[in-house]
């Protein structure tokens, strides 16, 4: 369905000194710095999958999505989406995909949702019968009915995202790219959005590529995760595997009475964070224990409070970003 082979994107950023002189100089003798945003990324996504695509800001997530959606041309490698080159066959590709760009709405600020949706429907040449059927379907699944007469400018963030999803799915795309679909929403609304994504995936077999910072989204929706860091794909596999691989780790945080100076780190543990009077350690449960680690610290300094954390995805991902996966893999 989606196939990326050695996908690479290099940007040439012109070096420009500030001011008029810099602009003139750049005109006559342009200098460039090359920045590789995405490097040799390969993966294949099958129909009906929901794949989480995660990475920190600037890791290459949105560049990849832009290449998959046909906005950007890759510098090297290949993308095929439904057997097509998404940039060369941009229009054909656009008919089969839907894209939610995080906080940038595709709807008309001052128009009532119904009118906005009509316009989007016409852009995608959705015929009337199908359009009506989908509207009534969304009225139920996204509770859209009460939103239809409201202009986008008067909607809350959650309402906007529901409206956005309706607009993205009004032409029943086979693939949807969701960029941060739950950002800034409260828990209840998040739940609703996730349930909806799950539902269209199950009922219509829509393939979903999801980029998010919210690990709740990932845990609830994705069985498979791609992790990109510095433009390189560092993980492609099941969510379960990551959890297992990191399951042996625990995180322990101490709050101390005095400033931390020249502390000996107990064997089997390493420092995650060290503040003025707080210390976070990660330890391997198979090599040491919580009591041994805390005893070691307590023998060196007075501890006011301590907390122990089970591994959740956020901790796992933090570790991967910090190079943890490479160490342990």
């Amino acid at each position: 369905m989606i196939e990326a082979v050695n996908l690479t994107k290099v940007y040439h950023i012109p070096d420009k000194d500030p001011g008029v002189r810099g602009a003139v100089k750049a005109l006559f003798r342009p200098r460039h710095t090359s920045k590789t945003a995405v490097k040799d990324v390969s993966f294949a996504i099958e129909p009906g999958e929901i794949v989480g695509y995660i990475g920190v800001n600037g890791a290459g997530k949105s560049t990849t999505i832009k290449m998959l959606t046909g906005i950007l041309v890759p510098t090297g490698g290949q993308v095929r989406v439904l057997g097509r080159d998404p940039h060369r066959e941009r229009v054909a590709n656009a008919r089969d995909i839907g894209v939610v760009f995080g906080q940038r709405s595709q709807l008309w600020w001052d128009l009532a949702l119904r009118e906005s949706l009509t316009m989007v429907g016409r852009i995608y040449e959705v015929d009337d019968a199908r359009f009506q059927r989908l509207i009534s379907e969304f009225s139920e699944t996204l509770e859209l009915k009460e939103l239809l007469p409201i202009p986008i400018r008067n909607m809350s963030l959650g309402q906007k995202m529901r409206a956005e999803l309706a607009a993205t799915l009004i032409h029943e795309p086979r693939i949807v790219y969701l960029d941060e679909p739950t950002i800034g929403l409260d828990l209840l609304v998040k739940e609703r959005i996730r349930a909806f994504i799950k539902r269209i995936n199950q009922e219509k077999g829509t393939t979903v590529v999801l980029t998010t910072h919210d690990l709740g989204d990932i845990e609830e929706l994705c069985r498979r995760v791609l992790i990109i860091d510095n433009g390189v794909l560092i993980y492609d596999g099941s969510l379960e595997t990551i959890k297992q691989r990191f399951g042996k780790y625990r995180e322990i945080t101490f709050e101390t009475a005095a400033d931390l100076n020249g502390l000996d780190v107990p064997t089997g543990a390493d420092v995650l964070e060290k503040g003025g009077r707080t210390l976070s350690l990660r330890f391997d449960r198979t090599q040491t224990s919580a009591s041994r680690v805390s005893a070691s610290i307590m023998s060196q300094i007075e501890v006011i409070d301590l907390s122990l954390k089970e591994p959740d995805l956020s901790m796992v991902v933090k570790q991967i970003y910090q190079g943890g996966l490479k160490e342990t893999a």
Partner: protein, 265 residues
């Protein structure tokens, strides 16, 4: 999207745009009248001066008004239907809204133009229309079907010349985002075309004929309408000039799009 469906899609965009404008009725009125005011300042000057002198280097007031009116009409077409070209950099490329156009199955240029009909241009259209009507009456121009067709073709060609020049220059937004200064520099040349080209140094006449051909949007058709002796290529050249310019502009636009595809923003 099939070419056939574009007009009806444009109509839908336009209807909804008007709906929005009607919601802000006050803005609509002020916007449309404010352009009349700006035009008014220039016109009042011409009128005040020309009522005190025998002629403007051989040109009478109605003759000047016809030229002024023609360029204003052409400009208003650009203003109403292609004003969004000015904001390509600021409102679309910089904000990333242009990416949205790229993932929709319509032509991005069409989408950009259809996105915002600009009501401010209506003021210019009215001013231009009134000027031409007054000038024509004073000059004794008879509106035969032939004249009407000629006039309409010339105004439309003039509008296309404006749009093509703005399109060519707005493409710089794909490189520098802030394309307004570049567009403005070329656009500003139309100010020359408000008056008879014969009052300027020869170089400016040549510039406005061959490089930035606003002369075809006002002076040349106006002299023809006045019944002055006008070389054929000047009297009838506008549609051809407009077509060539538009073809070049579209090529430049496609070049810009390719650049956008390789760099994003």
């Amino acid at each position: 999207m099939a070419l056939l469906n574009y007009p009806s899609l444009y109509w839908l965009f336009l209807k909804n745009r008007i709906k929005i404008l009607m919601e802000y009725r006050m803005n609509f009125l002020i916007g449309a009248t404010s352009t009349i005011m700006i035009q008014g300042a220039g016109l009042l000057t011409v009128w005040v001066i020309m009522s005190q002198i025998p002629d403007l280097n051989g040109w009478t007031l109605p003759q000047v008004l016809l030229i002024y009116g023609l360029i204003t009409l052409s400009k208003s077409i650009n203003h109403m239907f292609a004003d969004n070209l000015w904001t390509l950099g600021r409102d679309y490329v910089r904000t990333g809204a242009f990416d949205r156009f790229m993932v929709r199955p319509v032509d991005p240029l069409f989408h950009l133009l259809a996105d915002r009909f600009c009501h401010d241009g209506i003021g210019n259209f009215l001013v231009g229309g009134v000027l031409v009507a007054i000038a024509a009456a004073r000059l004794g121009i008879v509106w035969t079907p032939g004249v009407i067709v000629y006039f309409a073709v010339m105004v439309l060609s003039g509008g296309v010349i404006f749009i093509a020049l703005n399109l060519m220059t707005c493409v710089s937004a794909f490189w520098i985002m802030d394309s307004v200064p570049v567009t403005r520099v070329v656009f500003e040349m139309h100010e020359f075309a408000k008056y008879p080209l014969s009052i300027y140094p020869r170089a400016i006449g040549l510039l406005l004929t061959w490089a930035i051909p606003f002369g075809f949007a006002s002076y040349f058709p106006a002299t023809r309408l006045m019944g002055l002796e006008t070389p054929l290529w000047q009297a009838y050249g506008a549609p051809l000039v407009a077509a060539v310019l538009l073809a070049v502009a579209l090529a430049v636009w496609r070049f810009g799009l390719r650049h956008y595809g390789s760099t994003g923003t």
